[in-house]
Symmetry: none
Subunit: 187 residues, 4 copies
Amino acid sequence: MSDKRTDIINATLKVTNEFGFAGTSTDMIAKVANVGKGTIYKYFKSKEVLYSTLFDELTNKFMAFIVNHFQFNLDIQTNFRNIVYALVHYYIANPQEFRYLERYSDVSLNIDQRMDESTKLIEPIKKMMDELDHGFKFKQLPPLAIFAMTYGPLVAIVNLTLMGKIDLTDELIYEIADSCWKSILVK
Amino acid sequence: MSDKRTDIINATLKVTNEFGFAGTSTDMIAKVANVGKGTIYKYFKSKEVLYSTLFDELTNKFMAFIVNHFQFNLDIQTNFRNIVYALVHYYIANPQEFRYLERYSDVSLNIDQRMDESTKLIEPIKKMMDELDHGFKFKQLPPLAIFAMTYGPLVAIVNLTLMGKIDLTDELIYEIADSCWKSILVK
Amino acid sequence: MSDKRTDIINATLKVTNEFGFAGTSTDMIAKVANVGKGTIYKYFKSKEVLYSTLFDELTNKFMAFIVNHFQFNLDIQTNFRNIVYALVHYYIANPQEFRYLERYSDVSLNIDQRMDESTKLIEPIKKMMDELDHGFKFKQLPPLAIFAMTYGPLVAIVNLTLMGKIDLTDELIYEIADSCWKSILVK
Amino acid sequence: MSDKRTDIINATLKVTNEFGFAGTSTDMIAKVANVGKGTIYKYFKSKEVLYSTLFDELTNKFMAFIVNHFQFNLDIQTNFRNIVYALVHYYIANPQEFRYLERYSDVSLNIDQRMDESTKLIEPIKKMMDELDHGFKFKQLPPLAIFAMTYGPLVAIVNLTLMGKIDLTDELIYEIADSCWKSILVK
DNA sequence: TATGAATGAGAGTTCATTCAT
DNA sequence: AATGAATGAACTCTCATTCAT
């Protein structure tokens, strides 16, 4: 049995990926979701709400994925490596989710809001790191700067892979992970 | 004396920054540029052409800026540092241009095209590095991966600065520049 | 109960008659049809399609009218008279349809297409005449020339009547029908 | 030395023929006439006035052509034949003028006005016939009906010829002229 | 006199949203 | 609950006309 709300969410992900936010109409979503146009408005107050709801769901799903990969019995560097690895693979395996998250910020324009979105992604990780008693000394950079120095290249790498411009190997992923790690440590 | 074409270009930069590509209408551009709606079409065949023309102009302006900062009497690492420094400052000083370049690639959907756009930005730099006889050994990564590992963090840093989330110091810029540099070198 | 599609078609016929094809806007059609502007596009892909659809419908309606008046038990000359009679009366009774058909061919510019349109009107009649075994010998003119010699005066007569310049009597119609008939026969 | 007014008139004839009244813009006329857009408005108050002026000029030119072909020393039937012949050849030789006259009535919508236009064409001919003392007895039809019965087929024939659908021979022209003549005479 | 840059009303069309069924 | 016909505001773009040069 199919759940119409889920059908709509999935259709939105699919259609926005193929045609962009600008090129997506409720008509198309309804058609792909196999529901009536009005049904969308039974579950979501507006198109905008539908978009932001999907963003929230993807963010949460992604966060849960990361958190679930953290292993408390391993040291933090290994965890970093592992998480980077998992993250990259998650994005590669779910390109539509990746693109949606990437593009969404251009739709929800308000800058403060954009920050909140980035924060949603990084905050829990940062928290975990702060709370752990590890032996590493991070640079005296603002936490978000550290985020920028790790998340930035990952996004770029995933993008290049999805465009078919580079051949992603596990080796490359670990190479990048280590580079990033080093870049945020005090020498 | 005001040049209408310039007025339109400036208005487009301003309005798209404030309201996003989706939220920008020719009406708004015309009003902000203080020209008639029809005048836009005297200078640009369509809204899309206006957008892409602005993108090209910003890209060229930016490239010229970078190239002008390259000093052949200095070694490549110092040039890298200087260019990163100049680039970050340029973006911080011209946030609207930065945002426009960032967002435009997300609006023009075609993936191959997006690649071409990224390439426009990196190609000349890459060329310069290849042609120079420097003593550094870069990692055996695809050139675009190296680009990702340097350009990615910069964009992130600029974003965070523009959001007011981090306080950008020259020290921080050089810190990042050096980290990036190290991350692409063979250890 | 009103059918919106029909309302739109009727409004189009009415408005184009009053203001011509050039002077008719979708706004006016929508207003006269008492529907939203968007409703037009639910039923017709474009204004042009709306116009051509109306043309086709009028052509078919007209053809059906003629064919229904053909009586196989009567000789061909009597049928000719009757059909001319019916045709003229049909046009006089439906001046808007007549004007629409007249004007449409001048609006749709393509010459070959115009021919097809004229052909649509004459072809079935010509066919009927060819297939019947009648005793008349028509002049060795191209069939379309014969058409021109019969249809041309009828159109002119209807036009003059609609303009109120001549008083159309049944007598006059038959007079013209007979003249036409004679003009295409071998003496 | 070229006269700009004439250039504009000629350009209008040419462009409206190729693209129809709806598809013709002042821009195109100006370009073809090799004058500035504003110049058109120096000579004609508006586009509409330009169109109607051209119509009037063509009408007058055509009328003069006909009148000049009337030979008072010949009997009226021969004159009729000759005029039909000249008329058809004039149209064939000047298809742009023919088409302009044909199409113009769809642009100037007002029905009374249309009448005036038809009248312009036939009035002088009618006058000439009335004033002459010839031996023929025309049917007791309204003069315009007689016109319809002669002018109608001619227009149709010219149209078919210009479309390349029939091969116009002098023989055919005379055949039609005679048919028309007979059709308006009392038997 | 001649121009064409500039204009803005108005064109055709789309689409998020509503609501009667 | 589910629908999709209906809507009209808002969009991009055109073009007859004006007017400073």
